[in-house]
């Protein structure tokens, strides 16, 4: 929710030929999402979720595509996308390890869990491994205070997380990746 300072005058946007907002996403938006709302603007969060889910982040080109599809100004899309934490405006690792740092988790020892993951991956909080596989973050309350500490690995919740348990999960992902199969869909 921070204010983002950027060199608007000189910055360019990286582009690729293949659209980020695929035809199947457009179809789904037209068929399922847009009829639910009074305005096209209201379909923005669902549209950005689709992009985030599919690509792991929300590139500027994708925001432009969403803007033109929903008949919005690009600035309106950026305004929303830059507010919500779940949308990554920069690429992140294929697997996002998010460890809860809120009240119940901190006093249940989340720090030991974070430290174990840091040691295993050789990165600090907020960093991505060189192979682009893992990004580690700490975030606020995951709503698992009764089973603290809690962590999310992409979309799967780990309750009563232990240093050993989370390192084991990371090992399993690494093994699956080395064997050439994703452990689950990329951004699940």
């Amino acid at each position: 929710m921070a204010w983002i300072v950027k060199p608007s005058g000189t910055m360019g946007i990286e582009r690729r030929d293949e659209p980020y907002l695929t035809q199947s996403m457009r179809d789904r938006l037209t068929r399922e999402v847009l009829p639910r709302y009074e305005t096209t603007h209201a379909a923005l969060l669902p549209a950005l979720h689709m992009i985030q889910h599919e690509h792991g982040w929300v590139p500027a080109q994708a925001m432009l595509e969403v803007a033109s599809f929903l008949k919005l100004e690009p600035a309106e899309v950026y305004d929303t996308a830059s507010f919500y934490e779940e949308y990554w405006l920069k690429p992140r690792g294929k697997y996002l390890v998010s460890i809860c740092r809120s009240i119940a988790c901190e006093f249940a020892g989340h720090e030991r869990v974070t430290q174990a993951v840091k040691d295993r991956l050789g990165i600090d909080v907020g960093e991505t491994t060189d192979d682009g596989l893992f990004t580690l973050i700490e975030l606020e309350c995951l709503g698992s205070c009764g089973t603290a500490p809690a962590a999310l690995v992409n979309e799967s919740l780990h309750e009563n997380a232990t240093p050993e348990g989370l390192v084991r999960t990371i090992d399993e992902i690494c093994r699956a990746e080395a064997a050439g199969s994703s452990a689950g869909a990329p951004h699940h």
């Binding site: 209201a42 305004d79 779940e86 809120s102 009240i103 006093f107 309350c141």
Partner: protein, 464 residues
Amino acid sequence: MARLFTENMGGAGILTRRIPTPPFGDMKQRHVVRYDEYVRTGGYVGLRKALGMKPGDVTEEVKKSVLRGRGGAGFPTGLKWTFLPKVEAGKDPGARYLAINADESEPGTFKDRLLMDFDPHLVLEGIAIACHACRLNKAYIFIRGEYHHQAHVLEEAIKEAYANGVFGPRGMHNTEANCGGERFQVDCYVHRGAGAYICGEETALLEGLEGKRGWPRIKPPFPAIKGLFGRPTIINNVETLAHLPSIIEHGADWFLKQGVPGGAPGAPGSHGTKLMGMSGHVNRPGCYEFELGIPLRLFVEHYCGGIRGGKKFKAAIPGGVSMGILGTDQYDAELDFDIGRKYNVLGLGTACPTVFDEDTDMVAVARNIARFFKHESCGQCTPCREGSGWLYQLMTRIEDGHGKTKDLDLALEIATSMGSMPGTTICGLADGNNWAVRTIMNKFRSEFEARVKRTYVPVTVNAG
């Protein structure tokens, strides 16, 4: 025998009647209740009964039950519903919305999640009843982005509800049985948030629904008059709605028997049961259901197996970090809507206590909470955006041992001026920040004093 705050529940949970919960069931037996099981165990009886009543009578019954909002503020639900513009007979009132607040992000809170995890149809039935009572034709469940699994369970349940004529063109509101007189179609959708605590504030939630950044709106106009897409909108919490089926089925008098009456003359009481998620240093944390008014000590000692490791109680947050803290001498605080007035906290909040044992560093607690608010302040109002950052810096400085005595007064002054003073900010986030930091500092002042360096004021003495 002393009261156990489950006597008037009829030997089973009410919100948790299908979700095994101690003392009536074993948490390990919990499973997702699908449509068939829900109906087999008495589901959608309340909705059928409600649809046989006039919408005004349903509202009247809810008003009579003194059901108070379970999201944190405790505002009477029936009263909130009456703020909607009246529907004139024979005239199409146009679009009217129900926004369901499932953006459960308050640290320490994990109660709505229980319903969405295991008994989604109870929530849907409540939604359908509210839509009938208030003549609302679209319901949006705004669920926080991190609740991936719960969003999925809800989506599946909604599909089942459509297939079985709860919502949609073939829904129950759209049949002759609907005593509202006119048929109308009710639709229900899940809308996923994307990681912003502030979207739990009702007008920020509407902004999030409209696809904008979650910045709270200035009130008035209130959402009941001008809410989502500029139309009349009711915003209710998941747990509040889940109470409706049983209130309609058993009547307001049945509901009034549970809980405790109000303390102040003329004030509404704390009736019905409440989901209470216990976290922190207790032996058996988890989400329980009790009648409102259960003392914290009874909850911890009798139901949660006491404090972990046989330690002593030190402090507790009554229901989410915004509410402030209960001190060591307030272990007997009753968890009802009068708690704020009686124990110098902001209020009951979500009634999900976080308990701390005697070894807890209260400066660290204050720092953790200050960091949370600094992180989640939306940045719209200056006192909150700047104040939350300052408070976090001060708390960090004190924790690291670099603070000075005057920092304590400065922190209290910042907290008070960003929160307690009315009208400084649009929403209540700054006030939550203020209450949290201020009550911790006041109730555990000595711990803070022990951590700071004395500030000496040089005094020159005229020696002649």
